[in-house]
């Protein structure tokens, strides 16, 4: 019997505030466990749970938005056009806003 690999996804508070009110109104990071062995699969799992979030993280062509940063186990992904790298056991995927001015 195989088992589903799970990733821990943390949505930074700036992103979590746009989740449905029952989840996002706390204005803090939101963490969830999502199955998937690849980053793309895990992201799809997040978007299944929160459909409106897709447009916040990805643009209409599926690329990670220019001002969104994705960290896998502490390292920022570099291929933002094709965010689908293989994930290790209990990977942590951190979704946050890139820092910018104003």
């Amino acid at each position: 019997m195989g088992y589903a690999r799970m990733a821990r996804v943390v949505l930074a508070s700036a992103l979590a505030r746009w989740l449905p009110a029952s989840v996002g109104m706390l204005a803090r990071d939101v963490a969830l466990d999502v199955p998937g062995a690849h980053l793309g699969e895990v992201l799809e799992g997040v978007f299944e749970r929160f459909p409106n979030l897709r447009g916040y993280v990805l643009d209409e062509h599926g690329a990670v938005r220019h001002h969104v940063a994705l960290f896998v186990d502490g390292t920022a992904i570099t291929d933002k056009r094709n965010p689908n790298q293989t994930l290790g056991e209990r990977a942590e995927v951190y979704v946050m806003q890139a820092l910018s001015g104003g």
Partner: protein, 369 residues
């Protein structure tokens, strides 16, 4: 006369109410978020707000209870393979939504119809209150589109959409930079109608090219829909031919440069502008905020100053930041330095809002409570 104003700013949406003889901030929404513009749908009173979230892209929110609660709509999306090619030599780039720069409601017999103009130059249409959007391919596919260019932004954008009150199949849009385009068949086909506009800053053989004209804002008179006014990078233009055959108006005081224009909804001869020093400076002439008004179709202008700052004022008024209400009596405008002024007598007297707002991007009257 309208007693509610929606003020879209760099740091939130401010809802102003008129109480006794002055306007006050009554409500705030999306505090801290960048609000590009709002639409008040005259058919059902619903409010729409375009959020330009720096990190997370453009979002569209709707309120059916005058701002008490909001819910998220979808936003227009470009198709895979759509490419922005511009006429100013920039390398082609994948087209992706940068900004909803115009949002207008369809006619009363088109419930749910919305039009959205965007950067990088696509026009979109929804027939279900913004739940789904279709790109108007007939405009995107015109060969001339590849000669459009960025005006205020890197990429071209549609900032004005005028729907003919007599016949909603007649739609006129303006592009910075790409001139004026008109459809007489509900967007099935388009023609360039900026003939008569002039861009003095362009090379000699391109000055009169309609497709390079940098219209800053286009407005249509509601009761005289053949009359249009345009504030253009090069000056002020007027059409009495349904958005074509433009005539230049050169005597606007103190300057012909600016971004905003408002036309009286019942009288196509009456219009207002907020002039600035042109181009590379973009500040009021002599540090004085003034409004220029014509009541004779641009034959003459009155410079209105009463109640406006006349010393050391560096307020710039952007293209969507001057509004007029349906009565044609009340106007309001806000500036990039957060100044905000209203008038109840067509600009003879102005009142400054007692607040220091964030930079103002758009001003919209919202009717009566």
């Amino acid at each position: 006369m309208a007693d509610t104003l929606l003020v879209s700013t760099r740091k939130g949406l401010f809802i102003l109410k008129r109480k006794k003889d002055s306007w006050q901030i009554a409500q705030r929404a999306f505090l801290g978020d960048n609000i590009a513009l709002c639409l008040v749908d005259p058919r059902d009173g619903n409010w729409y707000a375009v959020l330009d979230l720096g990190h997370f892209g453009n979002k569209l929110q709707r309120s059916i209870d005058r701002g008490a609660t909001w819910s998220e709509c979808t936003v227009p999306a470009y198709a895979d393979g759509d490419e922005v090619t511009t006429g100013d030599g920039k390398p082609p780039r994948t087209a992706a939504l940068r900004l909803i720069w115009a949002l207008e409601a369809g006619a009363s017999d088109q419930p749910g119809r919305l039009w959205a103009g965007t950067i990088p130059g696509g026009l979109f249409r929804s027939d279900d209150y913004g739940a789904r959007w279709q790109q108007v391919r007939s405009l995107w596919d015109v060969p001339e589109r590849r000669e459009w260019a960025g005006g205020g932004y890197d990429q071209p954008g549609i900032h004005s959409i005028c729907i003919d009150p007599r016949d909603a199949a007649r739609v006129c849009i303006a592009i910075s930079t790409g001139g004026v385009w008109r459809s007489d068949d509900d967007g099935a086909s388009w023609k360039q109608t900026a003939q008569g506009m002039r861009a003095a800053y362009m090379p000699e053989d391109r000055k009169l090219d309609p497709n390079i004209q940098d219209v800053h804002r286009l407005v249509q008179c509601c009761d005289e829909p053949d009359v249009f006014w345009a504030q253009h990078h090069n000056g002020v233009f007027r059409s009495i031919a349904a958005g074509g055959d433009w005539k230049e108006i050169t005597n606007v005081q103190p300057s012909v440069f600016g971004f905003a224009v408002a036309v009286h909804p019942q009288d196509g001869d009456t219009a207002w502008f907020v002039p600035a020093i042109k181009d590379e400076r973009r500040i009021p002439v002599d540090g004085q905020v003034v409004v220029a008004r014509t009541r004779d179709g641009g034959e003459s202008f009155t410079v209105l100053r009463d109640g406006l700052p006349q010393r050391d004022a560096y307020d710039l008024v952007l293209r969507h930041a001057l509004a007029i209400d349906a009565s044609g009596q009340r106007l309001a405008f806000g500036s990039t330095t957060g100044g905000f002024w209203t008038t109840h007598d067509q600009g003879d007297h102005w009142q400054m809002l007692d607040a220091r707002l964030p930079p103002v991007y758009a001003v919209t009257f919202a009717g009566m409570d």
